[in-house]
Symmetry: C2
Subunit: 379 residues, 2 copies
Amino acid sequence: MITICDVARHAGVATSTVSYVLTGKRPISAATRSRVLESIRVLGYHPHAGARGSATSRTNVVALAVPLREGVYVPVLMRMVTAAVTAARRHGLNVLLMTADQGVDGLRGVAGSAQADGFLVLDVEMNDERVPLLRQLAQPSVLIGQPATTAGLTCVDFDFEAAGAACVEHLADAGHRYIGFLGAPTPVYQRRTGFAHRAMVGFSAAAMRRGITSTIMPTAGDHHSVLKAVQALFRVHPSTTALVVHNEAALGWVGAGLRSLGRKVPEDVAVIAICPDGLAEQASPSFTSIRLPAEELGRRAVELLVAKLNGQTVPSLTLLEPELAERASTAGVPGRMLARRANPAVNPERVTAGRRPSRSGAGTRTLPPTPPVVPAPRT
Amino acid sequence: MITICDVARHAGVATSTVSYVLTGKRPISAATRSRVLESIRVLGYHPHAGARGSATSRTNVVALAVPLREGVYVPVLMRMVTAAVTAARRHGLNVLLMTADQGVDGLRGVAGSAQADGFLVLDVEMNDERVPLLRQLAQPSVLIGQPATTAGLTCVDFDFEAAGAACVEHLADAGHRYIGFLGAPTPVYQRRTGFAHRAMVGFSAAAMRRGITSTIMPTAGDHHSVLKAVQALFRVHPSTTALVVHNEAALGWVGAGLRSLGRKVPEDVAVIAICPDGLAEQASPSFTSIRLPAEELGRRAVELLVAKLNGQTVPSLTLLEPELAERASTAGVPGRMLARRANPAVNPERVTAGRRPSRSGAGTRTLPPTPPVVPAPRT
DNA sequence: GCGCCTCGTCGAAACGTTTCGACGACGTTA
DNA sequence: TAACGTCGTCGAAACGTTTCGACGAGGCGC
C-alpha cells in the first residue's frame, strides 16, 4: 500500500503539505501543489478511508435503513433508494445498506462503532421502534416518512393525507358520490405504516367532508386478491362510480377486475391512482394519478442529511405537495348523476356539480378506517 | 466518545488487554475478562470501526455493485440483495451499496481508498466493463452472473442455459412441437446480459436438438407489450402449443394475452416460467416453473467472498442446477399432436411421445438468436 | 531448590491520516 | 530600515485501534 508519506517523499515536501493539498484546508503555492499532484498521479495514491476516519471521526458514509417489510412495493422503494444513493454520491458520501434483519440493534451497532456519519430511514411506521433510538443517537438522521410525532426528528414525506383528499376532491368535483378506495395490503395497515395510514385517513376525511359515500378495501397485489377486492367493493356499493387506488402492485389488475364486473374505465368507473408517474402511464387506459415523487423524496432526504451534517438546522418536517396528472382513466362520462360533459379542463358546471351538499349530511363509511378489514368475499 | 483506553483505566488493565479480550487473539484469564467486559458494559463502549480499520486494514465492509439497468426486474434483484446483506451480517460484514451512476470509477474509488474488503457484483454482462478492473483489484470479488469468460474470477450463477434447455426438454417430452419463448426486454439482450443471453441460448440449442420449432420474442413488462408479443408469437406460428416465459414482469400478463387469442392455459397452451417460485405460484393458473434461486445466489456469493477473504481458494464458477416444479400451467392436454392423457406424473407414453424424431430433422428458428428482434406487430 | 516453560499481562510502537503551533521568507507600512 | 503581517511550509502530536516483544509469576520436572 502506498501512503501519504510516500507521496511526500516523492514530491520532496512534508506529509502535512500533501494533506493540505488534498483537503485544501490551508493555502498551498501553485508550484508545490502541482508537484504534489503529479506525485500522487505517478504513484497512484489513494487516501486510506479508514485512516482518515480514524483521524477525523468522519467516515463519509451514510447508512440507509430499508426494512423490506411484507406488502411494500419494492420497485417504488428502490426508486427512492437509488435516488438517495445518487444524491449521496454527489456529496461524496457512500451508502451503507441495512435491511430488515438488522433492526434497532443493527442501527445501534453501526452508530456506536461510528461506521456512518448519518442515517437515512425508510418505511417508517406511526410508532416506529427505531424512532426512540434515532432521537438519542450522536449522528444525525433523516426519516423518509412520518411517525406519529416528528418532534426532535427530521422527516421528509409526501403529503399522503393531502393526496388522499385530493383524489376525493377531484372525483367529487366531477360529480361522483360513491367512491371506493383500494388500499395497500392488510399487514401494511396493521403495522400502521405511515404512508398507507395517512393516505387512507386523508381520503376518508375528505369523503366525510364532501358527503361522499366511501368504501375502503385493502388488497394484496396479486391478480386474485385484486379481483376479489374489486368485486367486494362493488358488492358493498353497486353504485360506486370511481376508484382511488393506493397500491402500486394492484394497479395492473384493476382494469381486469372492473371488466370482470362488466364495467369499463373510464366510461363506467373513473380511476385515480396514487403512484409514481411511470406506473400510471403504462396502465391501459392510462390512469389519472396523484404523482408520488419517489426520487425526489430520496434526493431531498439526502440533502437534508447533508445540511445537518454541516451543522445547519433544518425543518423537522418537509412535506411534498401532491400534484394531480389527468389522464385517460377519468376522461369518461361517469354517468348517472352527472350534469357534466366532455372537456374536463374548462368546466363551468364543476362547482355546482361538485359542491352540492350531500343528502345525508355526512358521508357513510362502510368500513372503519383503522384497521380496515377485508369483508370476506364469497368464494 | 469513549475509547478503549477509558475501558482499560476503568478496569485497571492495559489497553492491550482490553483489545485481547475483544479480539480473543491471546488468552486472558476469566477473572480479567469478566472485569473488562463489565467495564465495557458500564461505560457503553463500542470499538471505533475507522480506527480498527486503520490498524488492521480490514473494514468489515463488502461493496455490492447493483447497476439497476433498464429492463431488469427489480424485485428479483432485490431478493438477491437482501439475501446477500443478511448473509453478510451473519459474518459480521456490512454492505456498501453502489448503484448505476458509480460504475467502474466508483468501484475503483472504493477499492483504492480501501472502503471495502471485497466486492459483490450483480447484473453481469457478457463483456462487462467492470471485469478487467476486478481482475486487477487488490480486494477479492465475486460475481453473481457470468461474463464471457470466468478465468481469474469467481462467479456464482444459476445455470440459465440448462434452465432454458430443461424447459424445452420437459415440453418436448410432453409432445409439444411448436414452442414460443417470451424473453426479457430487448435492451437486456442488446447489452448481452449474461442471464438472459444464456437462457435463450440454452432454449434455442435444446429446441434444435429436439427438432422443435421455436420462436423467440423479447418483450417489455407492461400489459400492452406482452399482449403484442404473445399475439406476434402466435401469428408467426399459430400451431404453437407451449410457451416458455423468461420475464418476471411479463408473467402476470401472459394469461391475458393468450385469452385475447381465445387460448387457455393449460388446455390450449402449456406455460413454463423461469422465475422465483413465489411468482410462479401466484399466477393464475399457477405456472410450472424452473425455480430461480435468487436468495441462494446472494447467499452463496457472500459465502464465496468470505472464503476468499479468509485466504481459501474457491472454484472460479459455481453453477446452481435448475429444478423444475410442476404446477397447473402444464397440467392440461396440449391437444393436437399428443398421445398422452392426464396423470402427468406416471406417464408410460412419455418417451415414445416425446422422443419421436422431428419431421424436418433440425428445428427451424423463426428469429436469429442474437440479438433477437421483435417483428413489428400490426397495430 | 534450581532452571525452565507456559500463562497472563503490560508497554510501546505501529497503522495512515489530520491538525495545530511554529517558523522562516517576503512584502508592506511607518 | 525596523516592525509587522501574511503566506507557505514543516515537524510533531494527535485519532483509537492492533500487535509485537518482553516480562513477572507461578507450576513443573530434575
